[in-house]
């Protein structure tokens, strides 16, 4: 399993969420993004890589520079953070379903 490609894993990290907020209104180069953080430049690069891998960010080559911008389609999927909530209940209900499929009403216990 590649957790790095999981969107929710990606946005669980405060710096990465800060990067997303920063890019909400503009496209920026890695250098310009890193200038906003006290974190070391390679760390910011790593965050950018992760966000790009899970498609929250898109790269665009402009001359010699690479600009990062938000991928609105992907972001829409996590708007309002409903998806983790939905998953939370989906997991529970999946457990309920498999539990009850094995359940024997006559003996009142699981087979």
């Amino acid at each position: 399993m590649n957790l790095r490609r999981d969107v929710f894993q990606a946005i669980a990290e405060p710096t990465r969420r800060a990067i997303l907020l920063l890019l909400a209104s503009q496209s920026m180069t890695a250098g310009a993004i890193a200038a906003n953080f006290e974190t070391a430049r390679p760390t910011v690069s790593k965050h950018l890589q992760i966000l790009t891998e899970c498609q929250l960010l898109k790269q665009e080559q402009v001359g010699r520079e690479i600009y990062y911008h938000l991928n609105p389609d992907k972001l829409k999927g996590i708007a309002e953070f409903i998806e983790p909530f939905r998953r939370f209940w989906d997991d529970r209900f999946n457990r309920l379903e498999s539990l009850m499929k094995e359940y024997d009403p006559d003996t009142n216990r699981n087979i």
Binding site: E80, F81, I82, F85, F93, M100, K101, Y103, P105
Partner: protein, 155 residues
């Protein structure tokens, strides 16, 4: 991909609706909510009290591996109609989500298919939105705890 569990939470409203269809008969589905041993298994919590009658109380509690209680919730059952509906209040202790009014509607789709509609009304829009974000916040905490464990093991 068709989602089995759907969450409908309209912007600016203080309610939410969770809908789920099960490959289970209506009777089996309802039983999963009525019997403490079953609730414990799928909810992953301890059931301290579950008085299935009008005016009855319920209380759930979850502890971590070290026995520390990390979640406790309670409420009063307002209506309990087997295979039809449960109306109850829900309040998480030591949390700031207020009290919710929950209506659980159980519906038969066929002999082995059923549907649950869980409607929650919050005391305000912001409390509802805070609750929606909770699993997200827990995810962060869990990631944080795992990190802490790794660091402790390094010592």
């Amino acid at each position: 991909m068709k989602l089995k569990t759907k969450v409908h939470a309209e912007d600016g409203m203080q309610e939410l609706m969770i809908t789920r269809e099960f490959d289970l008969s209506l009777e089996l589905l309802f039983r999963a909510f009525a019997e403490p041993e079953l609730v414990e298994q799928w909810m992953g919590t301890r059931v301290l009290k579950l008085e299935n009658r009008r005016g009855g109380e319920w209380q759930f509690e979850t502890a971590d591996a070290k026995g520390k209680v990390v979640f406790r919730a309670h409420g009063v059952i307002h209506e309990f109609d087997p295979d039809q509906n449960i109306i109850r209040t829900f309040e998480m202790e030591n949390a700031s989500f207020g009290v919710q009014l929950e209506t659980l509607e159980f519906e038969k789709l066929s002999g082995h298919r059923s549907r649950l509609r869980m409607h929650s009304v919050f005391q305000s829009v912001s409390l509802r939105d805070a609750m929606l974000k909770l699993p997200f916040a827990q995810g962060i905490n869990m990631a944080h705890n795992r990190l802490q464990e790794i660091i402790e093991n390094l010592k």
